[in-house]
Amino acid sequence: MSLGNIFDIAGSGMTAQSLRLNTTASNIANAETASSSTETAYRARKPVFAAIQQSMLNPDQQGMAFASDEGPGAGVRVDGIVESDAELQMRYEPNHPAANEDGYVFYPNVNVVEEMADMMSSSRSFQMNVDVMNTAKSMMQRILTLGQQ
């Protein structure tokens, strides 16, 4: 029964969204982390999502429904995490312990407002995947009662 696939798909969505939530948490936590050079400064991290195609998982099952085309897909995966190229904030704070010889410190390029919006979006998407999983669960429970009364 391919209802199990829905669990896998929703599960992959939940994993991806929780990873996104993790990067957001890391970005917000490090929003005020000062550094003395551009190389060592923290940069905002973003996950890159990509769709998993079923044909990639089982290329030999040509006879199966959906396998001939690209298939209905098998969820989402995180291709990697990239660091933002946006400009770092350079502030003149000569009394800061991490200040360089010119008296400047470098603050991360984290946009806290953007991160908060991202956080809400990912938590909503997570909830949505949980809903999908719950629905699939009730569908599965229903099929177990077939012909019982």
């Binding site: 029964m1 391919s2 209802l3 696939n5 829905i6 798909i9 929703a10 992959s12 969505g13 991806a16 969204q17 996104r20 890159v48 999502f49 990509a50 769709a51 429904a65 959906f66 001939s68 085309d69 690209e70 298939g71 209905p72 897909g73 098998a74 969820g75 989402v76 979006s121 990912s122 998407s125 949505m128 995947n129 809903d131 999908v132 629905t135 699939a136 009730s138 569908m139 229903r142 099929i143 009662t145 077939l146 012909g147 009364q149």
Partner: protein
């Protein structure tokens, strides 16, 4: 007289299967709601059911050569179609979350309905077998 389950259950078993398949496609759309460049897809349910109906009624055109035209309704087997977005987004993603979610719920409800029919068929069979 033999009881044929295929005849007794009719189209409902195929409908149930098609509902599960559609649920899978819609769940995938929802999981990829934040994937850049992802194109939302859906199955042509009517074509799927028509094919099932044909296989039940037994009137099928057989293809004896590769060059023969495909006469099954809706073209290729279980072809997935792409959705046309109402409001295209910048990153190329065509998933409209609310719509997909409502479709998923509706699909689950239709699944329940098909299930109810199937269950009715089974209880009818049971009644016939017990002879009450």
């Amino acid at each position: 007289m033999a009881i044929s389950f295929d005849k007794a259950l009719g189209i409902h078993q195929h409908a149930l299967e098609a509902r599960v398949k559609r649920g899978e496609v819609l769940a995938n759309n929802l999981a990829n709601a934040d994937t850049p460049g992802f194109k939302a897809r859906d199955v042509d349910f009517r074509a799927m059911l028509e094919r099932a109906q044909q296989s039940v009624s037994g009137f099928n055109m057989e293809r004896t050569h590769d060059a023969h035209m495909d006469t099954t309704p809706g073209g290729q087997d279980n072809e997935l179609l792409y959705r046309v977005p109402h409001q295209p987004s910048v990153d190329g993603n065509t998933v409209e979350t609310q719509q997909e979610q409502s479709r998923f719920m509706r699909n689950a409800m239709d699944y329940q309905a098909s299930f109810q029919f199937l269950d009715g068929k089974f209880s009818g069979l049971k009644k016939a077998l017990s002879g009450q």
